[in-house]
Amino acid sequence: MFLASGFAVTYFASALRQAIWGIATLGDAPSRLVEVDGKSVNIPGDHSINLMIQSLIVLFLLALYIILCIQAARDAYSTGKRRNAGLSPSTFRQTLTYLHDFKFAQLLLVLPAAGILFLTILPIVFMILLAFTNYSSPHHIPPGNLVDWTGFETFVQLFRLSSWSGTFLGVLGWTVLWAVVATATTFASGLAVALVLSQKEVRLKGIWRTLIIIPYAIPQMISLLAMKMMFNGKFGPINQYLSHFGLGELPWLTDPFWAKLTVIIVNMWVGMPLSFLLVSSVLSTIPPDLYEAAKVEGAGRWQQARIITLPFIMFAIAPIIIIQLAGNFNNFNVIYLLTNGGPSNPEYQFAGHTDLLITWLYKLTLNNNIYNIASAIGIILFIIIAAFSIWNYRQTRSFKDEEMTQ
């Protein structure tokens, strides 16, 4: 025990200095070519990004170590108290029993917490930090160059520099429009189909239901790639039918306006079955005597739908609609697989006409290596989604009701 803590102290004493230096300066020597005996040799310098991650790991470990030390000190204190009171200190076996009986939850959470700490929290902290550096292609990519802290420069660039702010506002505008229209169309179509199927005169409900939800069961990746082929301007079957009926071919995926319409139509195909299922499950919970009462009062079918069905559905589904709205805001699959953001827009920085913020972020990260801007966009996306969610929780109050279900 003493040995372990001694080792830890020496480890942190040396690693911490390195870590603080690393995260504060992000390295001070870029790799460079040096002439040695008439040959140029590459001297590796500091790799800013690896330094940053290593420093973060050390700082995270240190935080864990400090928590452990506090626990150990508390434990030693209580052991000392017990000894002073004339009791024998607890054995290792007793400690285990104590953990099992009184700290079972903490015991269960050790592994998940460690995993989340290093695989989720650390990466997110890292990416947030990147927004405050100049880590971007072509001038600040390690190991050839160093990366430096630049404060809020990235955000200033994104909002003020006209080439970036133009792209940002354009993409943001389309993202909002897309999220609203995509959510509204899937919900309206799902509602319509559910209402038609729920009429008591309609037979074979199970079979209709199964056939209607098939698109939901097919993996999106497959159906969207297939859709991309279907809407292919030259060889795809859609244009083939259109020209067969003498209507002329349409630039489904290559014209800005038609591409936007296509992604909305395809998203309706993908999303309608889920809305249909959700609305159907709510419809089955509406008490039938409400309709009986309405009939007695002389309400027609439309009035019944307007006064009973719609309010009931809206009340139950409103939180889910908000979640879907947030989901569509970040709907990566539909856009990426269908158009990949295209057709390209020459006025935009690395984005096309149908790019959402999330696909733009992806392109900036993996294709163009402009990490600082991508990270700033990620932070903005987070703020938008968080605002949505907080508002939603306020509305549903499910957090408060948690104890009531017990």
Partner: protein, 280 residues
Amino acid sequence: MIARKSVKFRVMASYLFLAAVVCWSLYPAAWVVLSSFKPGKSLYSETFIPKSLTLAHYVELFQSKSLMFTTWYLNTLEVAVLSMLLSTLLVTITAYALSRFRFPWRKASLTLILVLGMFPGFMSMVAVYILLMQLGLLDTHAALVIVYSFGSIIFNLFVAKGFFDTLPKGIEEAARIDGAGNFRVFTSIMLPLSKPMLVFVALTTFTGAWVDFIFASLVLRSKEKWTVAVGLYDMVNSYQNAYFTLFAAGAVFIAIPITLLFMYLQRFFVSGLTAGANKG
């Protein structure tokens, strides 16, 4: 009489409408399935139903040296099954601890996980990539299993916790009075009761691993390590329309297990989703 006629008309119109919806829903799938049996390679087809049918593309899929479809299929199965097992274990113990016990930092941990779920996943991909590189885990299936499993905690925690919240406390207390310890209560009372939730978590992770092509293509560099989703996406990207019928055959083969699972278990999915929504 007039009233009955209008009812008849309404029912007929409803059937027509439903038939149209079903055509719209089924057309893309039917088109891909039929294309996979179509002779030739191209996207272009003269008729909706091919004039002659062939199994050649399915044979080629499994015999072609350049495609390695069999290897990919086995890789995918390995990654998906292992992620499913590990993630179900992790999600269950996390949700159980956070639902049934009261301890300091509990509310804070819940809020933290809620907040973490709101960050776009791609944001952390670069950092996870560098971490995996430093651990020497790049180009391994273990990396995928670890990242998928721990990632699924954040996605599924609230569904699972919501489920545990609804289980009555009485059963648990009865078992405790009979002398069962924490571990026994968890394994012999709680786990058997939470089967529907376990199925939901297991299947979302299984399908997630089955169809992920973004993170998998970032981590898996060598072709013999690929999963089917990576292979299929590569096929579409590099050949476009040239091998369309082969793509169709591959798509059918990848989609079939997932589609069947979904259809079979659709009830769980809807209740899982609504539970998640109600509980936050």
